[in-house]
Amino acid sequence: MARIGVFVCHCGENISATVDCAKVANTIAKMNGVVHSVDYKYMCSDPGQTLIKEAIREKGLTGIVVAACSPRMHEPTFRKATSEAGLNPFLCEMANIREHVSWVHDKGDPTTDKAIDVVRTLVEKVKKNQPLEPIRVPVTKTALVVGGGVAGIQAALDIANAGHKVIMVEREPSIGGHMSQLSETFPTLDCSQCILTPRMVEIAQHPNITLYTYAEVTALDGFIGNFKATIRRKAKSLDEDLCTGCGLCTTKCPVKKIPSEFEQGLGFRPAIYVPFPQAVPNKPVIDRENCTYYLKGKCRVCEKVCPTNAIRFDQEDTIMEIEAGALVLATGFDIKRADFFPEYGYGKYKDVIDGLQFERLASASGPTMGEIRRPSDGRVPEKIVFIACAGSRDPAKGIEYCSKICCMYTAKHAMLYKHKVHHGEAYVFYMDIRAGGKMYEEFVRRAIEEDDAKYVRGRVSRIYEKDGKLIVKGADTLLNGRPVEIEADMVVLATAGVASQGAEELAQTLHVSYDAHKFFAEAHPKLKPVETNTAGIFLAGACQAPKDIPESVAAASGAAAKVIGLFSNDELTREPLVAIVNRFPPPYFSTCVGCFMCQPVCPYQAIEKEQIKDRSGKVIRELARINPGLCQGCGTCVALCRSKSIDLYGYTNHQVYQEVVALLNE
């Protein structure tokens, strides 16, 4: 016989202001099976919880209902209290009479009546509750970090330094990401390479880190603590063990005029190449799309000159499977490029460049050795116009969001230019200056006040070339929209930051949700910023939204902390609120007919095929089986199952039916 206890909370005045809590408790006390029913001001407080624990012990309760707020916040609190009193925590249910009743109705009898109805249904439900045990799964204490930019590097080092194994996968030939392309960094103007390259080397040398460059994750199976990832390592056409990184092949390669990705097309590289001198690993790969041997079948100069015979033309891609307990996604971002701005002549005029290209021009290791020279004729530009928000915050261009980093790097660009070309003029067109951050506003003021960058608030409508000058037409909205025309030698567009190329495919491969702009989505914008909706997969850096270096690093350390926290357990427990396919003794086995309609609708790929064999090993039935490690208890399969063979622990068909019946039988 059920012995149910009901605890009605006032929530200060949140509930009692509109609901007569005492009346609720008294009415419920008369229900069949209810042996204890009280109300109290703050049920979640220590005395409140003690009320519950004592009642469980003294009255020998078999189930309890706490009528209070939404279960989102305090269900764990009350289940813990239940458990401490010696009752299975899943025999505790919450009736939400705050969000569903008191907050949304006026004071009065109907409101109290509704509260009574809500509690009644839960009392009937809890009578049918079964004790459940948490699910335990083992943890593989290896993290897979996807992407080797500054965020990936930070996350990998943090996890590795905590004593766990890390596998890093980077699709380019070298790690370093966009940060390795930058000249100097705001707001301190320290050299990007100088702070990043030591960390890159650390990755390569760390005993806990295995690095796969020129590789991609192509598939992911499993669940938190037990992922299985498939990695495709693209053929580098090189035996990495033999290669000493001497670089002779790269100097002798006859194909020399391939636009360098690292130099943003402002410099060239050969077909066998190391992206940049400080690359990690500092060993070349052959770009098969441009290599003469792969195109025409002869050449092999690199093979002839290699002192250690490390070139392998017949090398093939290798596919490998690795096991990992958690993933950190740090695939970074891209910037908008050609043909996005026909009105700015981008892609048409050589001297209209983007922010990353300017970084290369200003970088000591760049194509001009750090001298600011315009790409068309190599002259030092006397006047540069920088345009912030080129595409960002522009619904007409399909990008409503602020790219966040541009205000700061544009100020930095103007500053670097003025530091290198003292007599030059730097104009900055901007919408607003968004310089929130430690020492950020001061940095922008310095660009304006000390380095004399001329800030013009307004948009640029058009850029065209006339007599070797770029005519920039815009408006100064601080001067009542007066038209401004500037004859510039070079224009730098702070184009919008967008999701990394291939982000959508990767998200689909890994079953991670993403937003309309293909940035990966966090589980909660405030309280779960580095988690994804897929347990065990975490986010770091600009793959989530445009972020600057400090933010990317902070997020990476946050993700690493989450991974380390996860790995501090030898096994994981999770709530057993999962779906299950019913099973009976032979010869019935199950009412499941094996139609597998449930399989494609499962968002978590949790449904497997299970074969039932007779003694001779012949398959006699094929049933659906739900992997409790993967199932998130969403219930989609329950709704879809045509033979009603699937049930959801904690929300069984029987329990829900009892709730409905309770509502109908007053």
Binding site: P342, E343, K348, A396, Y464, K466, I471
Partner: protein, 301 residues
Amino acid sequence: MKLGYYPGCSLKGGSREYKESVVALCKRFDITLVEVPDWNCCGATAAHNLNKELSLSLPARILAQAEKAGFEEILVPCAACYNRLMVTAHEMKTQPALGQRVKEIIGMEVSGKVRILNVIQLIEKYLLDKLELKMHRPFDYRAACYYGCLLVRPSNILQFDRPEDPETMDKVIRKIGGQPVEWEFKVECCGAGMSVSRTDLVAKLSGKVIDNAVYRGAEVIIVACPMCHSNLDMRRPDINKYLEKKTDIPVLYITQAMGLAVGISEKELGLHRHFVPVRLPEKGLLTDMPGEELEHQQKEG
């Protein structure tokens, strides 16, 4: 084929040659234009500066008349009329309460079924596929296609071409054998309705347009808007005074350029009505263009 057609005031007055060329061109492609019965002013600049309801009611009545006459589609060659009609249709569709009010004012039903075509859309939709057969001689000139503002903006309502760098007219010019030039002023303002009140401003704005077209080596400017045309053409003396040089680049409607290519006479196209004389150098005159002969054969065969 019969097609509904709203000429508006410009085509009946100052821009007669636009109407003549539109009608002649359509005739050449076997399209008969039927005027919307009892049409009224679209309100143009004046109405929407003064009174929103008036500015919507005037075009709404035109749409209602077109609907009543049974047209599914109407051609609106004037860019200003096109813009006002499109904006009205959009406002009435997106703001039902306002739409209802407008219907009450005009006392007529507007279902929003009538599709509105500008002249470039007409060419793209009905003429281009038959062009090869009708070609008489290529319009072999370097042309600066000038779109102005009303044809492409506001882009979210008109949904026509790329607002900052349109290219549909350039495509048409290429199809009739011309070479569109790359230039920067294709969507700049010509000064529009300031023509009368601030001629000096129009001279300056239109002057920059002319200057850039000439600088980019254009031999002719192509337009699809009576307002642009009158500013670039009729105001040429003021423009030349502003530019301090004598420019004589002719300004042709896209329909005139196309008309020449398919062998319509200069007179029929109204070329003699321009202020800046249309003296295009004789070139590209191909006697063996398939043109009418092919067409003739096809009709017979």
